[in-house]
């Protein structure tokens, strides 16, 4: 497997968990977090790979190495921010792969390739789909 240079923006539970797994898999990671406390928490795990700053600010993205990044994961809790990050990463910096988190399911329609999004995932929808499938399965079991 080829190790990739990956930037994760947003180090909430999702960003941190994702970062640990990807590092364990041998990839090169950096992180951007604008909240002081969250950045501090992330530094305890990832050390100086964490950059404190607004991921929508080109200067901060450059510090985190966007010029050499192959993958960007915009995982902040703010859909506008994730869209701006995708737009910058794709159209200004030419990053090959831009993945974005969708926070509000109603905003899913905004996450399109012409806005720089290569793939988008909504944790709420994913969890809901899982629960729905599980409920359907249980309902069938009870019936039979």
């Amino acid at each position: 497997m080829q190790p990739l240079s990956i930037i994760i923006i947003g180090t909430g539970k999702l960003g941190r968990e994702c970062g640990q797994r990807l590092i364990a898999a041998g990839h090169r990671l950096t992180f951007v977090e604008k909240d002081h406390q969250l950045a501090q928490n992330a530094r305890e795990i990832f050390g100086d790979r964490v950059f404190l700053g607004d991921g929508c600010d080109p200067k901060v993205l450059e510090q985190a190495g966007i010029n050499i990044a192959q993958v960007i994961i915009a995982a902040t809790g703010d859909d506008e921010d994730n869209l701006i990050i995708a737009e910058l990463a794709h159209h200004i910096y030419g990053v090959q792969s831009v993945m974005t988190r969708i926070n509000r399911p109603e905003n899913e329609w905004l996450f399109t390739s012409h806005r720089g999004v290569d793939s988008a995932f909504c944790p709420v929808v994913m969890a809901t789909d899982f629960i729905k499938t599980e409920i359907d399965r249980q309902a069938e079991k009870i019936q039979s």
């Binding site: 506008e80 869209l83 701006i84 737009e87 200004i92 109603e106 905003n107 329609w109 905004l110 806005r115």
Partner: protein
Amino acid sequence: MHIIIIGCGRVGARPASLLSSSGHSVVVIDKNPEAFERLERSYKGKTIEGVGFDRKTLIEAGIEHADALAAVTNGDNSNVVVASVAAQDFHVPRVVARIKDPVRAEMFPKLGITTISSTLWTSGRIFEYLVSPELHNVFSVGSAGVQLYEFEVQNVLVDRMVRDLSVANEIRVVAITREGISFIPVLGSVFKRRDRVLVAVDTRSIDKLKAMLGLSS
């Protein structure tokens, strides 16, 4: 024209009221209904409580047949997202986003999004006023390739002709205000002390204008 304004703060409410009273069909969107109190009493347009990038809200506002849209909320990022949606998904012919962050204000035009940055504009004006109070910028044409400046005639120009301050393609005197009365001069018009002069300048020639007026640049 059918015009949608997102954000009813001080920046949004004023153009909304003006556009409505000059007969345009206007819709203002804001997530906080109290913001609509900023609209003038004469405002005849529609108000919608909602988030500017909700598809339902935009369609309710008539984005499918809108002629123009301005995204002027407090949030730079949501303004850019709304502007991008309006231009790319709904093909609104005229779209503008207000951007406070000067870095982003200069970056998004590269992505085809027209931005207006009050921070850039205001800081530019303040800088100019501090270093050369004699010369005020009153208007930037287009994306600021040409500027309109105003100044009061001082010693250097008294009894000189408009011709002396005219440079083809670079500097042109547009109007003179003398004792409260404004007129459009000809090349042979003569400057008097205390005339207020409006001049159009190519942005690259501002230092030349300052030199001609005897101001340090």
